[in-house]
Symmetry: C2
Subunit: 142 residues, 2 copies
């Protein structure tokens, strides 16, 4: 009878976390509204670990700026029970009207959200910590 | 020249949110550690909108129980710029040692996490609100 070995968690080094962040275009913003954590999918761009996203005048803009937020990108393969996840812990800043060079450059990078509507606000997430974990498929011994 | 119409956001009705939750085995837990929101992938089971997951004695167990948490499941297709997301807002409860029938049943449902190690703690998320959004691929007029 085949035995399944337990998969191990691998810590992803910083340089690879940055590469994985650049390999995707959609992630998830975690922030707190009142005392309720929320997770919302967003499209994003990344420059040196700083995330930029474009949004409307809704829940994210009302709660995220000037607070600590999480930003997560992952690849989950349910069939092989494996995947990776990269998590940024940082502070969100409203750069909609910033006239500094960084704000202007990041606004130029931010992709159009897939969903329509008024999306003329920009949020930058300045990273305090970037971590990543990978779970490989379990090894099956015949 | 082809014009791309802006995609619309569709609100997913409750019954379909529950069906989508049952269609997946891995999601993301959002909780707050100190004042820092975190998002961590987890395997889960669901019964009537209540989520159960199995975890080790780590960050999740230290912070999530008896606080408000988020639980998110999604399907994101970057190629077609479309996808759906279901978000549960609720309260996390440690049911590791609960001797009530619900705790015992949920512990039996909780899947083994893909990652190895000591994972003998169980968290239930009692939903306060379940919401879902879908973005369809943009229509392209030739």
């Amino acid at each position: 009878m085949a035995e399944t070995e337990t998969a191990q968690v691998e810590i992803i080094p910083d340089w690879e976390c940055l590469r994985l962040l650049q390999s995707k275009h959609a992630g998830r913003l975690g922030f707190v509204a009142g005392d309720q954590p929320l997770i919302l999918p967003v499209t994003y761009a990344v420059e040196d670990g700083t995330i930029v996203l474009r949004t409307g005048p809704g829940t994210k803009m009302a709660n995220a700026p000037l607070t600590r937020v999480a930003f997560e990108v992952d690849h989950i393969d349910e069939a092989s029970e494996s995947g990776w996840s990269v998590l940024i812990q940082g502070v969100a800043q409203d750069i909609t009207t910033g006239i500094d060079a960084s704000s202007e450059r990041l606004r130029g990078l931010a992709p159009q959200p897939w969903a329509g509507g008024d999306r003329d606000h920009y949020i930058r997430i300045v990273p305090r910590q970037i971590t990543g974990r990978r779970v490989h498929p379990p090894e099956v011994d015949g």
